[in-house]
């Protein structure tokens, strides 16, 4: 099975976020970068699929030179080769200047040349969190897709052209569905256990191929970023006192009045 995993490089969890001078983007001058967490789970799922049978895992990412560290991390963890869609650090052709459709188009072009059996990507990104890239990509590639996937296995019938996936629904419900290949899945965090990077992996990664792909100029955005701002932090804590029945009554009243239940 040939699997392409599309990963995104995002700022580290604790990285301080500063709005840049124009008020419409994030200043990423001295940001430390890391692999988007849901994408890490997507990669892990791909590696486990490969380890259960024959196959190849190709990791794909778009972005400037710094993205190489994330691709190397993926290669070190076991991906076989990497595709790097090189975009300029800033300017009209940069990743930040493209909308979701534009980014998905970049990824789709690169994926088409590989004609994989399965495309995996994280459910959403830790930075923007739109959760759109995966499904738009499926549409562009003309592939059936499933979102919020926790695990993937080969179909019960043993048909190599079908897979069975477990999706997370609301309220503790799960959905098990079978679907044909090729397909695209967006992977939910926590469905499997991530592996740690090893010295051997890093050394092996040095001899693995990374192919650079030039990026075409960006198409015009369909959306417009009006303003970027940090969330206003408001924290009001009130501790209700008294016997339990009084507290319950007070709480019910407040919920009714202030939350509108």
């Amino acid at each position: 099975m040939k699997i392409v995993v599309a990963v995104k490089q995002v700022p580290e969890r604790d990285a301080p976020v500063r709005v840049s001078a124009d008020g419409r983007s994030v200043d990423s001058g001295d940001t430390a970068w890391t692999m988007n967490e849901p994408d890490a789970y997507a990669l892990e799922e791909a590696l486990q699929l490969k380890e259960r049978g024959e196959g190849e895992v190709i990791v794909l990412s778009a972005g400037p030179e710094r993205v190489e560290s994330t691709l190397r991390e993926a290669l070190a963890k076991g991906a076989d080769r990497a595709l790097h869609i090189v975009t300029p650090e800033e300017g009209p052709a940069s990743l930040a200047a493209r909308d979701i459709l534009g980014v998905a188009q970049l990824l789709a072009d690169a994926i088409r040349s590989e004609s994989p059996d399965l495309v995996l990507t994280g459910l959403q990104s830790d930075d923007l969190g739109a959760g759109q890239t995966g499904v738009v990509l499926a549409e562009l590639l003309g592939l059936p897709h499933a979102t919020l996937v926790l695990s993937v296995e080969t179909a019960a019938s043993g048909d190599a052209k079908r897979i069975r996936v477990k999706r997370e629904l609301e309220d503790g419900w799960f959905q098990h569905i079978e679907m044909p290949l090729p397909a695209l899945l967006t992977i939910q965090s926590g469905g499997n256990r991530l592996r740690y990077a090893t010295l051997m992996g890093i050394k092996r990664a040095r001899s693995k191929e990374t192919r650079n792909i030039e990026s075409p100029p960006a198409a015009e955005r369909h959306d417009e970023i009006v303003r970027v701002s940090l969330p206003q932090r408001t924290r009001q804590t009130e501790i209700l006192t008294g016997p339990a029945n009084e507290i319950a009554a007070k709480l019910a009243e407040r919920l009714r009045a202030e939350v509108g239940l």
Binding site: D14, T198, L199, M200, K203
Partner: protein
């Protein structure tokens, strides 16, 4: 050949004698037997020598400083200091046997040469008479000692010797006894006659049988351990750098090809005394790990497969068990399960009288498993990912550290202060660790020492280092060195002995860190300025990484003595028992068997002291639960030495401080 004086004649009336005459046949038989004994000996030792010599070279091994090696040799080999100090009675008995052997070197050489017709010492001469009497005194001591050791080994049966005691060691003891008795017998016999001839031959045959037995038994230590002690790695628990080579990949001790000459030499030197086992916190609490069996496992592997084998050392990585132990029932000795139960407390390595350094071997086995990804452990993976992503072992957000610094108003290090106060993961994120840091900061302010903390700090990599993750350890060490260098730090002080050890010693593979000391050392130096309290009885627990690893025993005690009345636990100083946290184990979840921290906490509570004094945030955290579970209603207090000191400082010292500079208020 008249004696020098009448006195000597009188004394020599009872003296050692040798047969006056050997027939040609006797000489031939003797020569033949000597040659046979030597040939069998060489034939049996050759594969061992080959295994050691053909093993991988120790990269980075340096003989310098020879002076220190010589000193260790004199102390540990010639004076038998470790043998005696850690097990006085059997140790002394062993020392007598050893010194007796040295005295007998001359006697034995002379004995065989006499038989061949080239005797050196004339028993009738003055030198001969005196020397033979000297040797007789030793013979008596050796005979008594070896008999005592025999009784201990075969009748008293200390369990550390293992479930089965080897028969060879009984035979060897018997031979030694026979050698001594046959030597002493010669003092009471006429130089002519059947009796002296018979005893002479008994002595000779004992010698010639003894020699070929040596190579394949634990008695190989007679030959190897002096060399092993002289050649052992310089640092305590020194983890060698992985060799950088284009042709060969080094991930640690994965297979026979990774066993180095020093490890091979040490494995063959093991005398199976079980001191390592006796002091091991894993072996004594029902874990699989037994440090003695690790050494013997490597030996067994070398014997069976040789030093070029690619077959993995660890059971989980191969089809058949790596070492059914030679003298104990087969168990999972050489396994990932065992290797990852080590707390790296270093008691085994410290105790070993023949120079075996267990930690580089155990950590080496872990490296082999972790650096290749073979070790799959839920908690271990979580720890490595936390170190990779968050840069701290507790997996907390770095912002929590920022908040703590702000709340405690700790000054940031800007290059103008004398000390960089290293918080460490426990000091920055753990509630109790933070209390310790806050109190130590108060002490520094009270003393008027300027200090600051780094804006950003990552783990030193200690748990990754001990668990064998060279990738994570290397990147943390490099980023730590870069942070110190960027901030122009000259001196560091830390509350955690693990941080101190790792920064001072383990980071050396990547560069030289600024000078670092533990807060106990800092406080002991300023002890005269610290308040004297008429406090309660305080039992001090030696952390492994401060005591055995850094040789700091008295400094924390000096601090404790200022705060109250110092009490010692049953095991203390270099014999102190681990809290169970080290070697990354604190992050690996529940252990099998008895809990190490409970065992140690019981010992501390048993002293009846009102307070337990600790000097390591990990020990402190390990005892926190254990003490209340054990001591019940009135558990002793648990305080770090910084807290013991800070509690007597005037309250104003904290609040009146100017936080930005860490300067104390004007008095």
């Amino acid at each position: 050949m008249a004696a020098g004086s009448l006195g000597v004649v009188a004394l020599a009336s009872i003296r050692y004698v040798e047969p006056l005459y050997f027939s040609g046949v006797e000489v031939d038989v003797l020569a033949l037997l000597c040659a046979l004994s030597l040939v069998i000996f060489l034939w049996r030792i050759a594969p061992i020598a080959r295994n050691v010599l053909r093993a991988k070279k120790d990269s980075g091994f340096r003989l310098a400083p020879v002076g220190r090696r010589l000193w260790d040799f004199v102390s540990e080999v010639l004076c038998q200091s470790k043998v005696i100090r850690q097990r006085p009675l059997p140790g002394l008995a062993h020392a007598f046997v050893f010194w007796g052997f040295l005295a007998f070197a001359v006697v034995t050489t002379n004995h065989l040469l006499t038989g061949l017709g080239f005797g050196l010492l004339q028993y009738t001469g003055l030198v001969g008479t005196v020397y033979f009497w000297f040797a007789a005194a030793w013979a008596l001591l050796v005979a008594v000692s070896i008999a005592g050791l025999f009784v201990r080994r075969f009748l008293l049966r200390p369990r550390w010797l293992g479930a089965k005691v080897s028969i060879e060691s009984g035979i060897i003891a018997g031979l030694i006894f026979l050698l001594m008795i046959s030597y002493l017998a010669a003092f009471f016999l006429p130089p002519i006659g059947v009796a002296i001839k018979a005893w002479w031959w008994v002595h000779t045959l004992s010698l010639l049988v003894f020699l070929p037995i040596i190579p394949n038994t634990k008695h190989l230590h007679l030959l190897l351990s002096p060399l092993t002690v002289f050649l052992k790695r310089r640092e305590f628990s020194q983890i060698p750098a992985l060799s950088e080579s284009e042709t060969e990949e080094d991930f640690g001790l994965l297979a026979g090809k990774d066993i180095t000459q020093i490890i091979a030499l040490q494995a063959y030197s093991c005398v199976e005394c079980g001191r390592c086992t006796e002091h091991c916190p894993a072996a004594t609490t029902g874990k699989v790990l037994n440090p003695k069996e690790i050494a013997l496992g490597v030996r067994g592997y070398l014997n069976a497969l040789g030093p070029a084998s690619e077959l993995p050392l660890l059971n989980e990585l191969r089809d058949a068990p790596a070492n059914p132990s030679p003298d104990n029932p087969p168990a999972n000795w050489l396994s990932m399960e065992a290797a990852f139960q080590c707390t790296t407390c270093g008691a085994c390595e410290y105790q070993c009288p023949v120079g075996v350094q267990h930690l580089p071997i155990i950590v080496g086995l872990r490296r082999g498993a972790v650096n290749t990804g073979a070790w799959e452990d839920r908690q271990g993976t979580k720890l490595f990912l936390a170190l990779e992503k968050q840069g701290n072992a507790l997996g907390m957000s770095a912002m929590e550290r920022d908040k703590f610094i702000e709340r405690e108003q700790l000054p940031l290090f800007d290059g103008s202060q004398e000390y960089c106060l290293w918080l460490g993961c426990m000091g920055a994120y753990d509630p109790k660790g933070r209390e310790i840091i806050a109190d130590f900061a108060r002490i520094m302010r009270h003393l008027g020492t300027s200090f600051g903390v780094l804006r950003k700090e990552k783990c030193t990599g200690d748990p990754a280092r001990r668990l064998g993750n060279d990738l994570v350890f290397g990147s943390l060490a490099q980023s730590g060195l870069a942070a110190f260098s960027a901030a122009s730090v000259k001196k560091i002080v830390a509350i955690c002995p693990h941080c101190v050890r790792t920064i001072a010693t383990d980071w050396r593979d990547f560069g030289i860190a600024p000078e670092i000391e533990h807060h106990s050392e800092f406080m002991a130096r300023h002890a005269h300025l610290l308040p004297k309290q008429n406090g309660e009885r305080i039992v001090y627990h030696d952390p492994c990484y401060l005591g055995r690893y850094r040789n700091v025993y008295e400094e924390p005690r000096a601090v404790v003595a200022k705060a109250g009345q110092l009490v010692e636990a049953e095991r203390h100083h270099e014999r102190s028992f681990c809290c169970g946290a080290g070697g990354g184990l604190v992050f690996l979840g529940e252990e099998t068997g008895e809990r190490v921290n409970y065992v140690r906490a019981k010992e501390l509570v048993a002293t009846g002291a009102e307070t337990i004094g600790t000097a390591c945030p990990f020990c402190n955290s390990m005892f926190r639960d254990a003490v209340s579970a054990i001591a019940g209603e009135k558990p002793p207090q648990l305080l770090d030495i910084a807290q013991l000191t800070a509690r007597a400082l005037p309250a104003a010292a904290a609040s009146a401080t100017i936080p930005e500079t860490g300067q104390p208020p004007v008095r």
